[in-house]
Amino acid sequence: MVEGSHAEQWQCRRLQSWATICLTLISLLLAGTVLRVVQLKLHPDARLADAAGTTESTLREPGRRGDLLDRRGRILATTTLGHRAFLDPREVDDLATIGIELKSLIGLDAISIDRALARRFNTRFVPISDILEAWQVDRLKRARLPGVGLEPRLVRHYPYGGVAQQLVGAVGFEHTGLGGLEHALDTTLQGQDGHVIVVRDVRNRILWIEDGDFVPHRDGIDRTLTIDVFIQEIAEERLAREVLERNAAGGRLIIADPLTGDILALADVVNHEQRNRNEVEPGEAPANPRLARPRCGTDPYEPGSTFKPFVWATATEVGAADPEEILPTPSSQPHRTRGKRRIRDVHYYGPSSWRKVLVKSMNSGMAIVAERMDHRQMQQAVERFGFGTRTRCGIPGETAGIVTPPEQWTDYTQVSVAMGHEIAVTPLQMVRAFSVFCTDGRLPTLKILSPGTEHVSVEHRVIDSTIARMTRDTMRSVMTEGTGRASQSDYYQLFGKSGTAQLPIAEGGGYHEDRYVSSFIAGAPLETPRLVALCVIEDPDKRIGQYYGGRVAGPVVRDVLDQSLSYMGVPPDVEGVETMPRLAGSSPFDDKKR
């Protein structure tokens, strides 16, 4: 029995030893396997790593370009994300038929695809379309064609189409500003792309993002303009109609709030179809009208008689003439200046008061009073009203106009400037200067961008408030008794001044005999002016009809002021009128008498 028990014990110990050895081996094997897995996972052999491919991929997160908004937050320019299709020739199943397949699937041009493939056959990225429509993107995603991919791209939209297009400008393919405010404000509008590195599983599904692998995007900053889309549309529509009806070379129109300096509309029309009398071929339209320069700020023009109120106000203030003083203006012959220069008037009224000189736009009267002023007084008037200096309102490419420097200022210049000649101004400068009569003598700071933190508004007094008010009242008489009679409003008491200047010859100097720049500038209502509008019509066709500013540009100013003031809810100030100009309908001017 003892021997048997020994044998059993020995057997048992032997089994235990073997079991221990086996378990140890199994444990070592398991530990080895775990270590190998860890090694393969963390530091795989180079050959294995190449075969396995990367488990990480980088996803781009585009930073959105800021919007351009009008003064009421309506979107003038915004950005969305679009897609364009591309091919990876190495992954495509059949390069010979991929074009036809894509044509039948989303309507792309098969021949263009084949050509694109032939050109860039050795690359792995061949763009084959522009930005696709949403349905095309959906179909392409569902089809899951090997080697066909979608590249996300930012797309700029202009929801109001061509409204304020020269001002807003455009962006290029890389979404950077090329023209207008898109270019001028590019730094603030431009967003910054971010990216995220994601770890994927074997089925290419996104697993997670490692610490530090997420760089957030930064969106661009929205910018609000002072433009009001509704007023801008009114201005563009009315101006375009006048330019076409008059077969004019072009036209410019600005509407501004004189109290705040906000530019509410800035329209610019170029009639490329106009067949100029001296040219065989009509002008060529630019490839992209959005890239045309905003001429209201860049191109100066000779203001003609619209400049007279500034000289009239200054001369009155310095005491060169009194409004009721009778001046020796001629009855039938041109006036002769001290330098024997002949000054013609359209009509000769005989001796007239200084007030009547402005109302009837008499060149002779302006010349007489200009000769009473010294050169310095006239130069200071020009300078104080802001001519010769940029308004710095934010419009790109703005110029300062042309003012004769003091050292070249002659008696001839003195008389010419009094009539609005020998000086070139931009429409922006004119509107800013005219606002002085609406603000009781203060020159406002014009702006196209709504004030931000960086905004500093500087106003300085140009003339005394009583003189400003007096000039305004006299310009009201221009509308009732003078050259603005054809432009009177049925609803608001406008005050303004017309101008008709001969068109300068582009080369060689001098003026065209029968080509003009017709302009009109006015404000309303009379007691508390809310708006100023300036219209400049360039080279209206004399064969079609009148070419005087009061007849051509005046009605445009009247119509846009009527519509804009009605839109702003300003009640009519013409006595007995209680209804406001109608705004509804496809065109606000359908029922407007002309």
Partner: protein
Amino acid sequence: MFAKLMSIILVAAATSLAVLACRQSRIETINAMTAAHRNMLSQRRVVWQIRCQLAETLGSDQLRMLIAEDEEDWARITRPWMIVDIPPEEKAGGAGRG
């Protein structure tokens, strides 16, 4: 000895399972966060799109057509400039200018 070995293995296995469970939970959380992030980005792009579509749909022409089609008379509210433009003299709280 056997019992000790088994105990060690069992404890090690249990600990490993617990650690694995924690790791899996972390992966799932980060995965959910990543999915939420992606979803947020995609919704953000949808918002861009809708903003643009709204702006295009609410253009002046469309509004004018809507007003013209409506049989109801559109009446101007009493003080329209309250919603359009508050006159500067009222903003400043002073009297009107002369």
